[in-house]
Protein backbone atom coordinates (compact mmCIF):
# COMPACT_ATOMS: atom_id res chain seq x y z
CA UNK A 1 0.00 0.00 0.00
CA UNK A 2 2.78 2.39 0.94
CA UNK A 3 4.61 1.44 -2.18
CA UNK A 4 1.58 2.44 -4.19
CA UNK A 5 1.47 5.81 -2.48
CA UNK A 6 5.19 6.25 -3.02
CA UNK A 7 4.69 5.51 -6.69
CA UNK A 8 1.91 8.04 -6.96
CA UNK A 9 4.11 10.61 -5.23
CA UNK A 10 7.01 9.93 -7.56
CA UNK A 11 4.80 10.36 -10.59
CA UNK A 12 3.50 13.59 -9.12
CA UNK A 13 7.06 14.85 -8.72
CA UNK A 14 7.62 14.41 -12.45
CA UNK A 15 5.35 17.38 -12.98
CA UNK A 16 8.37 19.48 -12.08
CA UNK A 17 10.91 18.01 -14.50
CA UNK A 18 11.57 19.22 -18.05
CA UNK A 19 9.78 17.36 -20.85
CA UNK A 20 12.04 15.39 -23.13
CA UNK A 21 9.87 15.97 -26.20
CA UNK A 22 11.62 17.32 -29.30
CA UNK A 23 9.42 19.93 -30.87
CA UNK A 24 9.33 18.48 -34.43
CA UNK A 25 8.92 19.99 -37.05
CA UNK A 26 10.32 23.30 -35.67
CA UNK A 27 13.17 21.40 -34.11
CA UNK A 28 14.69 18.66 -36.33
CA UNK A 29 16.10 15.64 -34.55
CA UNK A 30 19.55 14.26 -35.30
CA UNK A 31 19.29 11.12 -37.43
CA UNK A 32 22.25 8.77 -37.73
CA UNK A 33 23.37 7.97 -41.31
CA UNK A 34 22.16 4.42 -40.97
CA UNK A 35 18.67 5.60 -40.15
CA UNK A 36 16.08 3.47 -41.90
CA UNK A 37 13.92 5.91 -43.83
CA UNK A 38 12.77 6.30 -47.42
CA UNK A 39 14.36 3.79 -49.78
CA UNK A 40 16.38 4.87 -52.81
CA UNK A 41 18.19 3.16 -55.64
CA UNK A 42 21.74 4.40 -56.09
CA UNK A 43 24.17 4.51 -58.99
CA UNK A 44 27.69 3.20 -59.19
CA UNK A 45 30.69 5.56 -59.40
CA UNK A 46 30.43 5.50 -63.20
CA UNK A 47 26.89 6.86 -63.02
CA UNK A 48 25.22 3.63 -64.12
CA UNK A 49 22.38 2.01 -62.25
CA UNK A 50 23.66 -0.25 -59.52
CA UNK A 51 20.61 -2.44 -59.38
CA UNK A 52 21.06 -5.64 -61.37
CA UNK A 53 17.53 -6.95 -60.85
CA UNK A 54 18.51 -9.96 -58.76
CA UNK A 55 15.22 -10.01 -56.79
CA UNK A 56 17.02 -10.48 -53.46
CA UNK A 57 15.48 -7.33 -51.96
CA UNK A 58 12.02 -8.42 -52.95
CA UNK A 59 12.47 -11.88 -51.47
CA UNK A 60 13.90 -10.40 -48.27
CA UNK A 61 10.97 -8.03 -47.89
CA UNK A 62 8.72 -9.38 -45.14
CA UNK A 63 5.68 -7.44 -46.34
CA UNK A 64 6.24 -8.06 -50.04
CA UNK A 65 6.16 -4.39 -50.97
CA UNK A 66 8.93 -4.59 -53.59
CA UNK A 67 8.23 -5.79 -57.11
CA UNK A 68 10.48 -5.50 -60.13
CA UNK A 69 11.27 -6.97 -63.51
CA UNK A 70 14.85 -7.66 -64.46
CA UNK A 71 16.06 -7.20 -67.99
CA UNK A 72 19.31 -6.98 -69.89
CA UNK A 73 20.77 -4.43 -72.30
CA UNK A 74 22.29 -5.50 -75.62
CA UNK A 75 25.72 -5.90 -74.02
CA UNK A 76 24.57 -8.18 -71.23
CA UNK A 77 24.36 -5.64 -68.42
CA UNK A 78 21.37 -6.34 -66.26
CA UNK A 79 19.07 -3.72 -64.81
CA UNK A 80 15.49 -3.49 -63.64
CA UNK A 81 13.03 -2.72 -66.44
CA UNK A 82 10.77 -1.40 -63.74
CA UNK A 83 11.09 -1.29 -60.00
CA UNK A 84 8.29 -0.53 -57.60
CA UNK A 85 8.12 -0.03 -53.86
CA UNK A 86 4.78 0.40 -52.17
CA UNK A 87 5.69 2.64 -49.24
CA UNK A 88 2.20 2.38 -47.83
CA UNK A 89 3.19 -1.19 -46.98
CA UNK A 90 6.89 -0.72 -46.22
CA UNK A 91 7.86 -1.24 -42.59
CA UNK A 92 11.37 0.18 -43.02
CA UNK A 93 13.02 -2.93 -41.63
CA UNK A 94 16.05 -2.51 -43.87
CA UNK A 95 16.20 -6.17 -44.89
CA UNK A 96 16.26 -5.15 -48.55
CA UNK A 97 19.38 -3.08 -48.00
CA UNK A 98 20.98 -5.93 -46.10
CA UNK A 99 20.14 -8.38 -48.87
CA UNK A 100 21.32 -6.18 -51.74
CA UNK A 101 24.55 -7.59 -53.16
CA UNK A 102 25.36 -4.43 -55.11
CA UNK A 103 24.66 -1.64 -52.57
CA UNK A 104 21.95 -0.44 -54.95
CA UNK A 105 19.03 -0.29 -52.60
CA UNK A 106 19.66 1.91 -49.57
CA UNK A 107 17.57 3.38 -46.80
CA UNK A 108 17.96 7.10 -46.21
CA UNK A 109 17.29 9.52 -43.37
CA UNK A 110 14.12 10.83 -44.98
CA UNK A 111 11.14 9.72 -42.97
CA UNK A 112 8.66 12.42 -43.98
CA UNK A 113 6.45 10.29 -46.23
CA UNK A 114 2.99 11.56 -45.43
CA UNK A 115 0.53 11.70 -48.32
CA UNK A 116 -3.14 12.44 -48.55
CA UNK A 117 -3.60 9.79 -51.24
CA UNK A 118 -2.13 6.35 -50.65
CA UNK A 119 -1.48 5.96 -54.36
CA UNK A 120 1.19 8.61 -54.07
CA UNK A 121 3.14 6.22 -51.85
CA UNK A 122 3.71 3.82 -54.72
CA UNK A 123 7.19 4.72 -55.96
CA UNK A 124 8.36 3.60 -59.37
CA UNK A 125 11.96 3.42 -60.53
CA UNK A 126 12.07 7.06 -61.65
CA UNK A 127 11.07 8.11 -58.13
CA UNK A 128 13.56 5.82 -56.45
CA UNK A 129 16.67 6.29 -58.54
CA UNK A 130 19.10 8.95 -57.31
CA UNK A 131 22.10 10.23 -59.18
CA UNK A 132 24.78 9.42 -56.60
CA UNK A 133 26.30 6.45 -54.84
CA UNK A 134 24.50 7.03 -51.54
CA UNK A 135 26.14 5.70 -48.41
CA UNK A 136 28.62 3.43 -50.14
CA UNK A 137 30.96 5.30 -52.45
CA UNK A 138 33.33 3.44 -54.73
CA UNK A 139 31.64 0.05 -55.13
CA UNK A 140 30.85 -1.15 -58.60
CA UNK A 141 29.43 -4.65 -58.77
CA UNK A 142 30.33 -5.22 -62.40
CA UNK A 143 34.01 -4.48 -61.60
CA UNK A 144 33.90 -7.56 -59.38
CA UNK A 145 31.57 -9.88 -61.26
CA UNK A 146 32.81 -12.12 -64.03
CA UNK A 147 30.02 -11.18 -66.38
CA UNK A 148 30.94 -9.49 -69.62
CA UNK A 149 29.14 -6.18 -70.15
CA UNK A 150 29.55 -3.22 -72.46
CA UNK A 151 32.94 -1.65 -71.76
CA UNK A 152 34.24 -4.57 -69.71
CA UNK A 153 35.37 -7.73 -71.38
CA UNK A 154 36.05 -11.11 -69.86
CA UNK A 155 39.16 -11.07 -67.71
CA UNK A 156 39.00 -7.35 -67.02
CA UNK A 157 37.29 -7.53 -63.67
CA UNK A 158 39.15 -7.44 -60.36
CA UNK A 159 41.15 -10.57 -59.59
CA UNK A 160 40.57 -12.04 -63.01
CA UNK A 161 43.08 -13.68 -65.28
CA UNK A 162 42.96 -13.01 -69.01
CA UNK A 163 40.55 -15.30 -70.86
CA UNK A 164 41.90 -18.79 -71.39
CA UNK A 165 43.32 -19.59 -74.79
CA UNK A 166 41.68 -22.90 -75.53
CA UNK A 167 44.06 -23.73 -78.33
CA UNK A 168 47.13 -23.52 -76.15
CA UNK A 169 48.53 -26.75 -74.87
CA UNK A 170 51.11 -25.07 -72.66
CA UNK A 171 50.96 -26.22 -69.06
Amino acid sequence: MLKLLKGIWLVFLHAFTRPVTVQYPEEKPYLPPRWRGRIILSRDPDGEERCVGCYLCSVACPVGCIALQATEDEHGRRYPAWFRINFSRCIFCGYCEEACPTYAIQLTTDFELSEHDRRNLVYEKEHLLISGTGKYPGYNFYRVSGLRIGGKDKGEAEHEAAPTDLRSLMP
Binding site: L4, G7, I8, L10, V11, F12, H14, A15, T17, R18, P19, V20, T21
Partner: protein
Protein backbone atom coordinates in the same frame (compact mmCIF):
# COMPACT_ATOMS: atom_id res chain seq x y z
CA UNK B 1 -43.16 31.44 -11.14
CA UNK B 2 -39.99 33.19 -10.12
CA UNK B 3 -38.74 30.06 -8.44
CA UNK B 4 -39.38 27.99 -11.54
CA UNK B 5 -37.46 30.45 -13.64
CA UNK B 6 -34.49 30.41 -11.30
CA UNK B 7 -34.54 26.61 -11.20
CA UNK B 8 -34.56 26.50 -14.99
CA UNK B 9 -31.71 28.99 -15.00
CA UNK B 10 -29.77 26.83 -12.58
CA UNK B 11 -30.46 23.73 -14.63
CA UNK B 12 -29.27 25.44 -17.79
CA UNK B 13 -26.20 26.82 -16.03
CA UNK B 14 -25.26 23.49 -14.53
CA UNK B 15 -25.74 21.69 -17.85
CA UNK B 16 -23.64 24.12 -19.83
CA UNK B 17 -20.91 24.22 -17.21
CA UNK B 18 -20.75 20.48 -16.85
CA UNK B 19 -20.67 19.68 -20.54
CA UNK B 20 -18.04 22.32 -21.21
CA UNK B 21 -15.99 21.12 -18.29
CA UNK B 22 -16.16 17.52 -19.33
CA UNK B 23 -14.86 18.49 -22.77
CA UNK B 24 -12.12 20.58 -21.23
CA UNK B 25 -11.21 17.66 -19.00
CA UNK B 26 -10.09 15.76 -22.06
CA UNK B 27 -7.54 18.47 -22.65
CA UNK B 28 -6.69 18.72 -18.96
CA UNK B 29 -6.14 15.00 -18.62
CA UNK B 30 -3.90 14.80 -21.66
CA UNK B 31 -1.88 17.80 -20.54
CA UNK B 32 -1.50 16.52 -16.99
CA UNK B 33 -0.61 13.04 -18.11
CA UNK B 34 1.95 14.67 -20.37
CA UNK B 35 3.51 16.59 -17.52
CA UNK B 36 3.68 13.55 -15.34
CA UNK B 37 5.26 11.60 -18.15
CA UNK B 38 7.84 14.27 -19.04
CA UNK B 39 6.27 15.39 -22.27
CA UNK B 40 4.00 18.20 -23.38
CA UNK B 41 0.69 16.71 -24.29
CA UNK B 42 -1.48 18.52 -26.81
CA UNK B 43 0.10 21.94 -27.35
CA UNK B 44 -0.44 22.63 -31.03
CA UNK B 45 -4.04 23.84 -31.43
CA UNK B 46 -4.57 27.28 -29.93
CA UNK B 47 -2.81 28.64 -26.82
CA UNK B 48 -1.48 25.75 -24.72
CA UNK B 49 -3.37 23.44 -27.03
CA UNK B 50 -6.63 24.57 -25.51
CA UNK B 51 -8.44 24.40 -28.80
CA UNK B 52 -7.52 20.74 -29.09
CA UNK B 53 -10.91 20.12 -27.58
CA UNK B 54 -12.54 22.07 -30.37
CA UNK B 55 -10.51 20.22 -32.97
CA UNK B 56 -11.42 16.89 -31.41
CA UNK B 57 -15.04 17.88 -31.34
CA UNK B 58 -15.02 18.88 -34.99
CA UNK B 59 -13.34 15.62 -35.84
CA UNK B 60 -15.67 13.49 -33.81
CA UNK B 61 -18.75 15.16 -35.26
CA UNK B 62 -17.48 14.79 -38.81
CA UNK B 63 -16.76 11.11 -38.42
CA UNK B 64 -18.99 8.56 -40.00
CA UNK B 65 -21.64 7.58 -37.51
CA UNK B 66 -21.50 3.91 -38.18
CA UNK B 67 -23.77 1.27 -36.76
CA UNK B 68 -22.47 -2.22 -37.43
CA UNK B 69 -24.89 -4.30 -39.51
CA UNK B 70 -24.72 -7.10 -36.98
CA UNK B 71 -25.57 -4.89 -34.01
CA UNK B 72 -28.88 -4.64 -32.16
CA UNK B 73 -29.56 -1.20 -33.59
CA UNK B 74 -32.03 0.32 -31.14
CA UNK B 75 -30.08 -0.69 -28.05
CA UNK B 76 -26.81 0.22 -29.71
CA UNK B 77 -28.06 3.80 -30.17
CA UNK B 78 -29.66 4.12 -26.74
CA UNK B 79 -26.69 2.81 -24.71
CA UNK B 80 -24.44 5.89 -24.91
CA UNK B 81 -27.36 8.17 -24.10
CA UNK B 82 -28.11 6.26 -20.91
CA UNK B 83 -24.73 7.00 -19.35
CA UNK B 84 -25.00 10.73 -20.04
CA UNK B 85 -28.57 10.97 -18.79
CA UNK B 86 -28.00 9.06 -15.54
CA UNK B 87 -24.92 11.01 -14.58
CA UNK B 88 -26.46 14.34 -15.43
CA UNK B 89 -29.47 13.34 -13.33
CA UNK B 90 -27.17 12.72 -10.37
CA UNK B 91 -25.95 16.30 -10.56
CA UNK B 92 -29.50 17.43 -9.81
CA UNK B 93 -28.97 16.79 -6.11
CA UNK B 94 -25.46 18.17 -5.77
CA UNK B 95 -25.42 21.41 -3.74
CA UNK B 96 -22.80 23.56 -5.44
CA UNK B 97 -23.54 26.42 -3.04
CA UNK B 98 -26.26 26.91 -0.48
CA UNK B 99 -28.35 28.44 -3.25
CA UNK B 100 -27.25 26.68 -6.40
CA UNK B 101 -28.83 23.28 -6.33
CA UNK B 102 -31.31 21.92 -8.82
CA UNK B 103 -33.39 19.83 -6.44
CA UNK B 104 -32.65 19.66 -2.75
CA UNK B 105 -34.23 16.27 -2.15
CA UNK B 106 -34.42 14.92 1.36
CA UNK B 107 -33.19 11.59 -0.05
CA UNK B 108 -30.50 13.26 -2.21
CA UNK B 109 -27.80 10.80 -1.34
CA UNK B 110 -30.00 7.81 -2.16
CA UNK B 111 -30.94 9.46 -5.44
CA UNK B 112 -27.24 9.83 -6.28
CA UNK B 113 -26.59 6.17 -5.47
CA UNK B 114 -29.57 5.07 -7.53
CA UNK B 115 -28.55 7.09 -10.55
CA UNK B 116 -24.96 6.02 -10.51
CA UNK B 117 -26.12 2.39 -10.34
CA UNK B 118 -28.27 2.94 -13.39
CA UNK B 119 -25.26 4.06 -15.39
CA UNK B 120 -24.03 0.46 -15.28
CA UNK B 121 -26.86 -0.34 -17.71
CA UNK B 122 -25.29 1.83 -20.33
CA UNK B 123 -22.13 -0.22 -20.38
CA UNK B 124 -23.89 -3.55 -20.24
CA UNK B 125 -26.30 -2.61 -23.00
CA UNK B 126 -23.50 -1.25 -25.19
CA UNK B 127 -21.55 -4.47 -24.75
CA UNK B 128 -24.57 -6.59 -25.55
CA UNK B 129 -25.85 -4.55 -28.48
CA UNK B 130 -22.48 -4.50 -30.24
CA UNK B 131 -22.78 -8.23 -30.84
CA UNK B 132 -19.04 -8.55 -30.60
CA UNK B 133 -17.28 -10.87 -28.21
CA UNK B 134 -14.89 -8.24 -26.90
CA UNK B 135 -17.72 -5.82 -26.29
CA UNK B 136 -19.74 -8.45 -24.55
CA UNK B 137 -16.82 -9.40 -22.31
CA UNK B 138 -16.35 -5.72 -21.49
CA UNK B 139 -20.01 -5.37 -20.63
CA UNK B 140 -19.96 -8.46 -18.42
CA UNK B 141 -16.92 -7.25 -16.58
CA UNK B 142 -18.50 -3.86 -16.07
CA UNK B 143 -21.67 -5.31 -14.60
CA UNK B 144 -19.75 -7.56 -12.23
CA UNK B 145 -17.46 -4.75 -11.18
CA UNK B 146 -20.17 -2.20 -10.65
CA UNK B 147 -22.42 -4.54 -8.73
CA UNK B 148 -19.59 -5.41 -6.38
CA UNK B 149 -18.46 -1.88 -5.77
CA UNK B 150 -21.98 -0.44 -5.46
CA UNK B 151 -22.43 -2.44 -2.30
CA UNK B 152 -19.75 -0.88 -0.17
CA UNK B 153 -19.98 2.45 -1.89
CA UNK B 154 -23.41 2.80 -0.31
CA UNK B 155 -22.23 1.35 2.99
CA UNK B 156 -19.25 3.69 3.17
CA UNK B 157 -21.58 6.66 3.04
CA UNK B 158 -23.79 5.47 5.83
CA UNK B 159 -21.29 6.77 8.38
CA UNK B 160 -21.65 10.24 6.93
CA UNK B 161 -25.43 9.91 7.01
CA UNK B 162 -25.30 8.84 10.63
CA UNK B 163 -23.11 11.74 11.57
CA UNK B 164 -25.23 14.23 9.68
CA UNK B 165 -28.50 12.56 10.53
CA UNK B 166 -29.89 13.30 7.09
CA UNK B 167 -29.88 12.06 3.48
CA UNK B 168 -30.15 15.59 2.19
CA UNK B 169 -26.83 16.66 0.77
CA UNK B 170 -27.37 20.27 1.80
CA UNK B 171 -27.86 19.08 5.37
CA UNK B 172 -24.73 16.96 5.13
CA UNK B 173 -22.69 19.99 4.05
CA UNK B 174 -24.26 22.05 6.76
CA UNK B 175 -23.35 19.34 9.27
CA UNK B 176 -19.68 19.82 8.44
CA UNK B 177 -19.69 23.39 9.81
CA UNK B 178 -17.16 22.44 12.46
CA UNK B 179 -15.17 19.44 11.30
CA UNK B 180 -15.17 18.06 7.80
CA UNK B 181 -16.29 14.47 7.70
CA UNK B 182 -12.98 13.42 6.22
CA UNK B 183 -11.61 13.50 9.73
CA UNK B 184 -14.13 11.31 11.58
CA UNK B 185 -14.89 9.30 8.46
CA UNK B 186 -11.39 8.87 7.11
CA UNK B 187 -12.03 5.19 6.45
CA UNK B 188 -15.33 5.97 4.79
CA UNK B 189 -13.59 8.57 2.62
CA UNK B 190 -10.94 6.15 1.42
CA UNK B 191 -13.53 3.49 0.68
CA UNK B 192 -15.70 5.93 -1.18
CA UNK B 193 -12.75 7.21 -3.18
CA UNK B 194 -11.87 3.71 -4.29
CA UNK B 195 -15.46 2.79 -5.01
CA UNK B 196 -15.81 6.02 -6.97
CA UNK B 197 -12.83 5.11 -9.10
CA UNK B 198 -14.44 1.79 -9.80
CA UNK B 199 -17.80 3.40 -10.54
CA UNK B 200 -16.24 5.64 -13.17
CA UNK B 201 -14.22 2.70 -14.58
CA UNK B 202 -11.02 4.70 -14.21
CA UNK B 203 -7.52 3.29 -13.89
CA UNK B 204 -6.75 1.08 -12.01
CA UNK B 205 -10.31 -0.24 -12.35
CA UNK B 206 -10.74 0.15 -16.12
CA UNK B 207 -10.99 -3.52 -16.89
CA UNK B 208 -14.29 -3.22 -18.82
CA UNK B 209 -12.40 -1.48 -21.59
CA UNK B 210 -8.93 -2.96 -20.95
CA UNK B 211 -7.47 -2.27 -24.37
CA UNK B 212 -4.65 -4.73 -23.94
CA UNK B 213 -7.12 -7.60 -23.65
CA UNK B 214 -10.44 -6.50 -25.11
CA UNK B 215 -9.58 -4.13 -27.97
CA UNK B 216 -11.67 -1.37 -26.38
CA UNK B 217 -14.13 -3.38 -24.36
CA UNK B 218 -17.75 -2.34 -24.45
CA UNK B 219 -17.22 0.51 -26.94
CA UNK B 220 -15.15 -1.44 -29.47
CA UNK B 221 -17.81 -1.05 -32.15
CA UNK B 222 -18.60 2.59 -31.39
CA UNK B 223 -17.41 5.47 -33.45
CA UNK B 224 -18.22 9.10 -34.04
CA UNK B 225 -20.27 10.98 -31.49
CA UNK B 226 -21.65 7.81 -29.92
CA UNK B 227 -18.12 6.96 -28.93
CA UNK B 228 -17.75 10.60 -27.87
CA UNK B 229 -20.73 10.26 -25.57
CA UNK B 230 -19.11 7.43 -23.68
CA UNK B 231 -16.10 9.65 -23.26
CA UNK B 232 -18.13 12.60 -22.08
CA UNK B 233 -19.96 10.24 -19.75
CA UNK B 234 -16.69 9.09 -18.26
CA UNK B 235 -15.52 12.64 -17.61
CA UNK B 236 -18.89 13.64 -16.20
CA UNK B 237 -18.50 10.68 -13.87
CA UNK B 238 -15.14 11.97 -12.69
CA UNK B 239 -16.61 15.37 -11.99
CA UNK B 240 -19.56 13.81 -10.21
CA UNK B 241 -17.48 11.63 -7.94
CA UNK B 242 -15.10 14.51 -7.20
CA UNK B 243 -18.04 16.77 -6.40
CA UNK B 244 -19.58 14.10 -4.17
CA UNK B 245 -16.31 13.67 -2.27
CA UNK B 246 -16.22 17.41 -1.76
CA UNK B 247 -19.81 17.47 -0.58
CA UNK B 248 -19.67 14.43 1.66
CA UNK B 249 -16.23 14.62 3.18
CA UNK B 250 -14.69 18.03 2.55
CA UNK B 251 -17.32 20.43 3.65
CA UNK B 252 -18.79 21.22 0.26
CA UNK B 253 -18.83 24.98 -0.45
CA UNK B 254 -17.54 25.84 3.01
CA UNK B 255 -14.40 27.82 3.48
CA UNK B 256 -13.19 31.19 4.59
CA UNK B 257 -12.88 34.44 2.57
CA UNK B 258 -13.71 33.12 -0.86
CA UNK B 259 -17.27 32.77 -2.16
CA UNK B 260 -18.79 29.31 -1.73
CA UNK B 261 -18.80 28.48 -5.43
CA UNK B 262 -15.05 29.06 -5.65
CA UNK B 263 -14.38 26.85 -2.68
CA UNK B 264 -16.51 24.14 -4.16
CA UNK B 265 -14.71 24.42 -7.49
CA UNK B 266 -11.23 24.35 -5.97
CA UNK B 267 -11.96 21.28 -3.91
CA UNK B 268 -13.60 19.46 -6.80
CA UNK B 269 -10.76 20.37 -9.14
CA UNK B 270 -8.17 18.95 -6.77
CA UNK B 271 -9.96 15.63 -6.69
CA UNK B 272 -10.25 15.59 -10.45
CA UNK B 273 -6.47 16.07 -10.59
CA UNK B 274 -6.08 13.25 -8.11
CA UNK B 275 -8.07 10.98 -10.42
CA UNK B 276 -5.76 11.85 -13.29
CA UNK B 277 -2.68 11.36 -11.16
CA UNK B 278 -3.86 7.90 -10.24
CA UNK B 279 -4.24 7.10 -13.91
CA UNK B 280 -0.71 8.28 -14.55
CA UNK B 281 0.70 6.25 -11.69
CA UNK B 282 -1.19 3.02 -11.23
CA UNK B 283 -1.29 -0.14 -13.33
CA UNK B 284 -4.54 -1.89 -14.18
CA UNK B 285 -5.76 -4.65 -11.83
CA UNK B 286 -6.47 -8.13 -12.97
CA UNK B 287 -10.13 -9.09 -12.91
CA UNK B 288 -9.81 -11.61 -10.10
CA UNK B 289 -7.71 -9.19 -8.06
CA UNK B 290 -10.39 -6.59 -8.51
CA UNK B 291 -13.15 -8.87 -7.27
CA UNK B 292 -11.11 -10.18 -4.37
CA UNK B 293 -10.19 -6.67 -3.33
CA UNK B 294 -13.80 -5.56 -3.45
CA UNK B 295 -15.43 -8.40 -1.60
CA UNK B 296 -12.70 -9.49 0.78
CA UNK B 297 -11.11 -6.16 1.73
CA UNK B 298 -13.36 -3.26 0.99
CA UNK B 299 -16.68 -4.74 2.04
CA UNK B 300 -15.43 -5.85 5.51
CA UNK B 301 -13.75 -2.48 5.97
CA UNK B 302 -16.95 -0.68 5.07
CA UNK B 303 -18.88 -2.82 7.53
CA UNK B 304 -16.32 -2.13 10.25
CA UNK B 305 -16.53 1.56 9.54
CA UNK B 306 -20.30 1.39 9.71
CA UNK B 307 -20.32 -0.57 12.96
CA UNK B 308 -17.74 1.64 14.68
CA UNK B 309 -19.39 4.84 13.52
CA UNK B 310 -22.76 3.50 14.57
CA UNK B 311 -21.44 2.52 17.99
CA UNK B 312 -19.78 5.88 18.52
CA UNK B 313 -22.87 7.72 17.42
CA UNK B 314 -24.93 5.57 19.78
CA UNK B 315 -22.56 6.33 22.61
CA UNK B 316 -22.47 10.06 21.83
CA UNK B 317 -26.17 10.50 21.17
CA UNK B 318 -28.19 7.76 22.80
CA UNK B 319 -31.58 7.44 21.12
CA UNK B 320 -34.42 9.00 22.94
Amino acid sequence: MNETASTLLIIAGVLVTLLTLSALLIWLERRLLGFWQERYGPNRVGPFGLLQVVADMIKIFMKEDWVPPFADKAVFVIAPAVIIVTILMSFAVVPFTPSIVVADLNVGLLFFLAMSSLSAYSVVLAGWASNNKYSLLGGLRASAQMLSYEVFMGLSLMGVVMLAGSFSLRDIVAAQQGVWFCIPQVLGFIIFLIAGLAETKRVPFDIPEAEAELVAGFHTEYSGMKFGMFFVGEYLGIILISAMITVLFFGGWQGPWLPPVVWFSIKTFLFICLFILLRAALPRLRFDQLMTFGWKVMLPLALVNLTVTGALVLVGHPPE
